[in-house]
Amino acid sequence: MEEAVQPAHVHAPPEGFISKYVFSLDHKMIGKQYYGLALVSVFMGMVLSWLMRFHLVWPDAKVPVLGSLAPTGAPGGLITPEYYLSLLTMHGTLMVFFVLTNAPFAGFGNYFLPIQIGAEDMAFPRFNMMSFWTTFAGFLVLVLAFFIPDGPPTSGWTAYAPLSAVGKDAGPGLGWGQNLWAISIAIFCVGQLLGSLNFISTTLDLRAKGMTLMRMPICTWAWFITSCIGLLAFAVLLPACLLLLLDRLAGTSFFIPSGLVVSDRLQNHAGGSPLLWQHLFWFFGHPEVYIAILPAVGIVSHVLVTSMRKPLLSAKVLIYSMMSIGFLSWMVWGHHMFVSGMNPFSSLLFSFPTLTITIPATIITLIWLGSLYGANIQITSASLFALGFVSMFVSGGVSGFFLAQPSIDIYLHATYFVVGHFHMVMGVAAIFGILSGTYFWFPKMSGRMMSETLGKLHFWITFVGTYCIFMPFHYLGLVGNVRRYSSFVDDFMAPLMPVHKFISIAAFITGAAQLIFLYNLIHSRFRGKVAPENPWNGTSLEWSIPSPPPWNNFGGKHPVVFHDPYQYGVKGSKGDFVMQDSPEQIVSG
């Protein structure tokens, strides 16, 4: 039994403000909404990191205005140690979930995946809309924690039990603040599951004629692999959050052990396993690293190959390497738990696949470097951030070699070395991927060009500033500077304060430089030079339609694909490239 082929338009053209800009079914608007949410979140997260860096180096100084915003956490503007942990928790949660997952995957993926495969929209536009608004609800619930008397949670973005499970006895923020955190993340999981479902079905079934799987651009592959990872990862975090909420609200004992005394009170729970939370969380948590970084790998590859004007050494090997990383990501969660007290033999078992992941990661890097060798790369803001990504990916990845070995990790685990490692390889690297994608695709998304001068200025301050912030973290970690402390003045770490001051000043400057980007983004949106259809002479399908694209992407036509995605440096063609939907025959030479 088969039904007729569906009509060309999956939904009617949007009419009116609400259906066009708010409850939109259009994947492009939903992509922009995700990007906007990530933008708000990243600036919030950045301000929180500023507050932390300020307090670390001037622990007795008062922060103007903060005293009235958080009278309990920062009475008179003086940040308490507990509120420092709240800032740390909210910074991590906002950045990991609402920035690093939202922008490179849900934001750009929503906007460009359907276009790059020649589809008119996602397979399930209503699910897509629900996905964003669910995520937005999760964001509101999380931010609400700032405005309740209990304050935001203090258990870190990893919410380790039993601290996160026992309730208000454990201290400020661990009553309703922690409840809101768990509810927010559970809601976020639902949104991401709906999104992943859409990405997978769309990629498998809505590709245009001629768009075989291996003809999909690398970033489409990255979004597809990421959605497969996300589907499984968030399907585990959601039950974990539900069990955490049951422990907190219904009196169950999944994560709280027997005989636990907190604040001189015996907790009315028995037999729970704190390690169980860590297992469930990191089973999600490590794949989450790749949910953040793989889309950036795809975006950067897409930008680099366009800027180099020649094909990558092997796009296929790069895609297979991304698949390998996706597969291995499920076997390594225990490397976050070397110091948790789990069986030391388990550590060995987790260490081996962790080190193995470096093989596909190295192959990807070598493909980039080998392709760059001899290339006459066009230096644009987008390509600079792409090159910056490669630099961060390597610098942050190398420290992973050390942490993957239990004997070294036991020494370094609770230090700033780990903070430096994951901020470089997962945080800033992914941000560079997002920025590269923004400079590259902004003309398509808005119909206007961004200022290249401001873009390059933004790049150099951010690139140098990032290294100034995160490289010294490794040094601090090696000399034993513990993380999560709110100040270092009264103990043996006091001699390290000059390094901390340097880092804080670098963080303020680098953060402020992001205002250049924000100005460029907003100013260019309204006053930028009008963008042509294909400003970078790209070959994939998004460059074959107007900037910005019409509501139905291809104007009701069905694109036909004839070529692999990266036909650059082609002799005999009009330019040096042949677009994917061009029937022009490419003759080997």
Binding site: M1, L197, K209, T212, A235, S253, Q567, G569
Partner: protein, 198 residues
């Protein structure tokens, strides 16, 4: 320099049925995610079982009647699918009584599960009483919540068929059937886990 001669391949690539196929894929992808969630619950059970405070609970016999109702509902839905599949276009009206029977059996299952919870509560076994009862409620409530999704789609299908204003998409009907059968399989798995582990 590209080293391959590319030819016009459009005609050689089969045009996909698009959204109908995507609906089927979506159902399978959803099933995959749900399976993963219940795998997480199961592994939580295995870890938690090592704590040494495990107290087995006696299952109310009505749970087996509920199981029979759910298995029977899969048979009625398959009957509906085959009825509808006769002919070149979907014969939804022929299938309507069987879809309605499926919905009724699904609702009987949910009501039966509610009675199971009442009986356990009557014995003093609540969500937080002990670890076994916690997992029992988590497994059964989560399954019912997922089943309610299937009930909602069946209700929509019945309303659409009965209204005579257009017909539902075949892919939706087929997807609902796949999901419903999966709910039966999932319940059978959970019953085995519950009966042997709790």
């Amino acid at each position: 320099m590209a080293s391959t001669v590319y030819q016009h391949v459009a005609s050689s690539v089969t045009e996909r049925t698009g959204h109908a196929q995507a609906t089927r894929s979506g159902v399978w992808v959803g099933i995959f995610a749900i399976t993963m969630s219940f795998a997480a619950f199961t592994s939580a059970l295995m870890v938690r079982q090592g704590s040494g405070d495990w107290q087995h609970i006696m299952l109310p016999p009505i749970i087996y009647l509920n199981t029979a109702a759910l298995l029977l509902s899969s048979i009625t839905l398959e009957r509906a699918r085959r009825r509808a599949a006769r002919g070149s276009t979907p014969q939804f009206r022929d299938a309507l009584p069987w879809v309605a029977a499926t919905l009724a059996l699904g609702l009987i299952f949910v009501a039966g599960q509610y009675l199971v919870w009442r009986q356990l509560a009557g014995r003093g076994l609540y969500l937080a009483t002990n670890s076994n009862s916690s997992f029992f409620y988590v497994f059964t409530v989560m399954h019912v919540l997922h089943l309610l999704g299937g009930i909602a789609v069946l209700t929509y299908l019945i309303a659409k068929i009965a209204s005579r204003k257009g017909t539902p998409r075949w892919s939706l009907f087929e997807g609902a059937a796949i999901y419903w059968h999966f709910m039966g399989i999932l319940w059978f798995y959970l019953l085995v886990v519950i009966a042997t582990r709790l």
